[in-house]
């Protein structure tokens, strides 16, 4: 028998079946003719034996197509296996290349995977609440910004709404002295309405939540614990259910424990008790302290809810013109509020780290190109043996994919490590970040990143390799003899994009660094060095009378001042850069009463030494002293900014301002301005000073103890180490009342640095990414230029033989490198200016298009590019012309 053709069939299945059946019929006919049938009878007999030819043909075609599909799959799988095995052997044969390429990629893949895990945990993963998309935050607006809701407004709104499932719920953040057995501890808790957990859509892990009848004055002595508090303080014992714990001097029965995932507010409250509004509180419309949530009905939209709230607001504006004259409500999806702008910041980081991955891909592409030149012969042979171009490309891409997947494996280790670092160094308060981990989603992301990268860095080299002319490849001495100029567009393009990408990163990092420097230089208006701050709160049960509160805080100020090493000690309702603090509407004498005429100003109730302890200058008039007692002339000190707003240039001393309380007859209660204090940046260096005023502790309005919940700051200044004073201060306060815990004990310098933590974290991370990107780009530039030098050895030899100096050779090479670098810089500047807007909300005192930063980045990049190409350029200058020419 003759030779056979090989699979696959050239003819489609249809032809195959037709031919085969026709052949059969013909052979059968011949058989019957041989047996003596007439030609016509023989044919008829053959057809009879076949039966319904059309049916047989259809059956065979269908079966044949199935067979071909299966063959193709098997063939593809076996080729893939071959390619993977081949790729693996290639990597083992070139361990240096494999190591450098996969480490480069591992850096990029690992980095992107780590940041992806963070994005996944903070932004993408659904909240552990029933149907979180329907959960809304309902807030009042103050000067266009969402603000807390008053109990009266909450109560009235709740009565008139139909769009929310189960009505609105309110939470008041509050602190509790937990004094049960161990050391007394200050704990943040939420006072909530009974429907709170139902509205949020969370169920307790153990026990129950509140019954409606517990949300009433007198029966609110029940508490639901957070998982964190339950484990930390009560050893995760289930026996805690039904037991009593002592808080604020009262007993509360533990009703339930929430799951660990229920940790959804930035206040990080650790327990909940019923809010139990009294009828008086339900009637108060002017004190805004409630966070309000509502769950939209399944068929309701936020728009409809807002319309309903506006109807309520218009009624409230009419009924309570004094308190609610400008009331409007706003509705914010809970998820948006929860993630805040961390989502955006993380996405910026993900973008930055992806840019690093792109640069890494560029470098690997360059390595592959260099190796492709060495493999030209091998590919030429394969092509000569009949491998099609697509087959070659497929094999090259398989090699790239194997390389990238190895890199992903290494990258996952790197990701695990860097994610741990990110979580450890991240600023506090990023929601759910500590839940980020290298999980199956991250694994999937790493594999996807690897496969996408393998196409990015592998496709161009693969196409080039597959296109390679068989003849030149087979000719051993094939040599690029291009004279002058960059002929290799692909490699030049790599330089252009790497330079552009790293410029983008460096520009972002540069902007953040400049912001950080500007923040360091800001004058805070006070001196944070040598200052220790701590907070203390008096429980309402044992400190009911305002006189007793004032006397106790004054004793604390005296006791703190006597601690050895303390030079100044003060009590204040708010220090700076921390929790607490409040504001009041002020009305200068002579200005008619109207909501819009009130000057909203930050309030501090202080003892006289506050200004000296904080290092705030009195710029005019006097500070407080012993004259400013209860029952005496009511006085206040205003900040320079408030003075400017309230009295626009006139001397504020002696002027009167109404605030904070009413006289018994209902008329405005005026305080005389006795001094002007320097402005301070109370909310940290990034926030400009606000209008603020100060009242002496003995003259604090009685209501103020409800606003502050009897919680004050102790501020002490020392010439030595403030940290050393924490323990003696604790002891001094314990001597006044051993049940009072000092909490939030921190040096002012710590408060300052944690207020900058987010900015510093982003700056650090982006700077690291910029540095890594720059290094990768430098090695990419080096690689390409070194390749060009090696390609032009012969030509350079000729030039030198003809009298070119080493200096002119160096210049020649550097000039060649300059063009793509300059082009890349131009592209990069354009991209950077377009992209830097995403950083705008993280910048301080620097424009997103800051020319100085651009200049600095371009100079840095230019210097690095020059250095990277100088090495191969000097090697070119050292070429020995005789050897270069002999090598021909």
């Amino acid at each position: 028998m003759n030779r056979f053709y090989l699979w696959p069939w050239k003819a489609p299945v249809d032809d195959e079946v037709d031919h085969e059946l026709a052949f059969h019929l013909e052979m059968r006919t011949r058989e019957y003719v041989d047996r003596g049938f007439s030609a016509a009878d023989a044919r008829r007999e053959a057809e009879r034996r076949m039966g319904d030819v059309a049916r047989v043909r259809a059956a065979c075609r269908a079966l044949g197509e199935g067979r071909d599909r299966r063959m193709r799959r098997i063939e593809y799988a076996s080729e893939l296996r071959q390619d993977i095995g081949f790729a693996w052997r290639q990597m083992r044969r070139n361990p240096g290349f494999a190591l450098i390429a996969s480490l480069t990629l591992a850096l990029g893949i690992g980095g992107t995977t780590a940041i992806f895990s963070a994005v996944d945990a903070v932004v993408l993963r659904p909240l552990p609440l029933r149907d979180p998309a329907r959960l809304m935050v309902v807030a009042e607006t103050w000067k266009g910004l969402p603000s807390d809701v008053s109990a009266g407004n909450f109560t009235d709104a709740n009565a008139g709404l139909t769009r929310f499932e189960g009505g609105l719920t309110a939470e008041q953040f509050s602190s509790f002295n937990l004094a049960d057995g161990g050391t007394p501890e200050r704990i943040i808790g939420g006072r909530v309405t009974a429907n709170y957990f139902d509205v949020l859509g969370a169920r307790p892990a153990m026990g129950r939540t509140f019954r409606a009848d517990e949300d009433r004055p007198g029966s609110e002595q029940v508490v639901v614990l957070s998982h964190r508090l339950w484990t930390r303080r009560f050893g995760a014992a289930s026996a805690i259910l039904g037991q009593d714990i002592r808080m604020n001097g009262r007993r509360y029965t533990v009703a339930g424990v929430m799951p660990a995932s229920f940790d959804l507010t930035t206040n990080r409250e650790e327990l909940w008790v019923p809010i139990a509004f009294t009828p008086e509180r339900k009637a108060m419309h002017d004190e805004h302290y409630l966070t309000v949530y509502g769950r939209l009905n399944a068929d309701a939209t936020a728009q409809q809810a807002l319309a309903e709230l506006e109807a309520v607001a218009s009624r409230l504006r009419r009924d309570f013109p004094k308190d609610d004259g400008e009331l409007t409500f706003t509705v914010i999806p809970f998820t948006d509020q929860f993630v805040g702008d961390y989502g955006k910041r993380l996405l910026v980081l993900l973008g930055a780290v992806s840019v690093v991955l792109l640069i890494a891909c560029g470098n690997v592409a360059n390595l592959l190109l260099a190796r492709g030149a060495a493999r030209g012969r091998e590919i030429a042979i394969r092509t000569a043996l009949g491998a099609g171009r697509w087959r070659i490309v497929r094999q090259c891409l398989t090699e790239s994919a194997v390389l990238a997947l190895c890199a992903a494996a290494a990258g996952l280790l790197f990701a695990k490590w860097s994610l741990a670092a990110v979580v450890a160094w991240s600023p506090p308060g990023v929601p759910r970040l500590e839940q980020a981990q290298i999980d199956p989603a991250a694994l999937g992301f790493a594999v996807a990143a690897a496969l996408v990268s393998s196409v990015l860095f592998g496709l161009a080299p693969a196409l080039r390799l597959a296109k390679g002319d068989v003849q030149t490849g087979l000719r051993e001495g094939a040599r690029g003899t291009t004279a002058g100029g960059f002929r290799d567009r692909l490699r030049a393009g790599l330089i252009v994009s790497e330079v552009a990408l790293s410029l983008l990163l460096l520009f972002g990092a540069g902007l953040l660094i400049r912001s950080a420097i500007a923040l360091q230089r800001v004058d805070l208006g006070f001196d944070p060095h040598g200052v220790l701050t701590a907070r203390v709160a008096l429980p309402a049960a044992s400190y009911a009378e305002p006189e007793r509160v004032v006397a106790t805080f004054e004793r604390m100020a005296e006791a703190a001042a006597k601690v050895p090493g303390v030079t100044q000690a003060s009590i204040t309702s708010y220090a700076a850069m921390g929790g607490g603090g409040g504001s009041n509407g002020l009305l200068p004498e002579g200005v008619p009463f109207a909501i819009k005429n009130l000057i909203q100003s930050g309030l501090r109730i202080i003892t006289p030494d506050f200004f000296r302890a904080m290092g705030v200058p009195i710029v005019k008039g006097r500070g407080f002293d012993d004259r400013d007692r209860a029952g005496g002339q009511k006085v206040m000190i205003v900040s320079a900014r408030l003075a400017a707003i309230a009295f626009s240039g006139q001397d504020p001393i002696g002027k009167r301002i109404a605030c904070c309380e009413q006289r018994p007859d209902g008329s405005a209660d005026y305080k005389v301005v006795v001094g002007v204090a320097g402005d301070i940046r109370s909310r940290g260096p990034a926030t400009p000073p606000a209008a603020e005023f100060y009242l002496p502790l003995p003259q604090a309005p009685a209501d103020a103890w409800n606003w502050t919940q009897r919680s004050m700051y102790i501020v002490i200044r020392t010439a030595g180490d403030p940290a050393a004073l924490a323990q003696p201060l604790r002891a001094a306060i314990a001597r006044i009342d051993p049940d009072l815990p000092l909490f939030d004990v921190r040096m002012m310098s710590q408060r300052l640095s944690s207020s900058l933590a987010t900015a510093r974290f982003n700056t650090l991370l982006l700077t690291i990414l910029g540095g890594v990107g720059l290094l990768l780009a430098a090695s990419g530039i080096y690689g390409v230029i070194a390749y060009f030098v090696s390609q032009r050895t012969h030509e350079i030899g000729v030039r030198m033989a003809l009298g070119a100096t080493p200096g002119s050779v160096v210049r020649l090479i550097l000039t060649q490198a300059t063009r793509p670098v300059a082009l890349g810089a131009a592209v990069g500047i354009g991209a950077a200016l377009a992209a830097s807007r995403v950083l705008a909300n993280q910048l301080f005192d620097v424009s997103p298009t800051d020319p100085a930063t651009i200049a600095a980045v371009v100079v840095t990049l230019g210097a690095v590019a020059l250095a990277a190409s100088a090495v191969p350029a000097r090697r070119a200058a050292a070429i020995d012309p005789t050897k270069a020419l002999q090598a021909e």
């Binding site: 028998m1 003759n2 056979f4 053709y5 090989l6 699979w7 069939w9 195959e16 079946v17 031919h19 085969e20 059946l21 052949f23 059969h24 052979m27 059968r28 058989e31 053959a46 034996r49 076949m50 039966g51 319904d52 030819v53 049916r55 047989v56 059956a59 065979c60 079966l63 044949g64 199935g66 067979r67 299966r70």
Partner: protein, 111 residues
């Protein structure tokens, strides 16, 4: 034995017969049919309408492979041959047939 019952009987054993025939070397479809007819002295008549679907099905199962070749008369023809998997299948089918035939014989030929 009428042709109809032969066809029915063959329906289950056609595959085994094809495998057995191909075990002796590669053949095209018509040659397979002839070989079966000749080997059984004309007792077994292959129904051509069943033969080809059976061949395509066996090909899909990977028991046999086909190549274009040239027939004894110099015509282009599709030639089938056994694969290693087909050889294993033949062994299995033969054993199954022997078991079946023994059982049936024991009943029918019992005295």
């Amino acid at each position: 034995m009428t042709p109809e019952t032969t066809a029915e009987l063959l329906h289950g054993t056609l595959v085994a017969l094809i495998l057995k025939t191909l075990a002796r070397g590669r053949r095209h479809g018509y040659a397979i049919a002839r070989a079966i007819e000749e080997a059984t002295g004309g007792v077994v008549q292959v129904e051509d309408g069943s033969l080809y679907p059976a061949l395509y099905r066996m090909e899909r199962s990977g028991w046999i492979e086909a190549e274009w070749g040239v027939s004894e008369l110099g015509r282009k023809a599709k030639l089938y041959r056994l694969t290693p998997r087909g050889r294993r299948q033949l062994a299995a089918e033969t054993a199954e047939w022997a078991r079946f035939a023994t059982a049936v014989s024991r009943l029918l030929l019992a005295t």
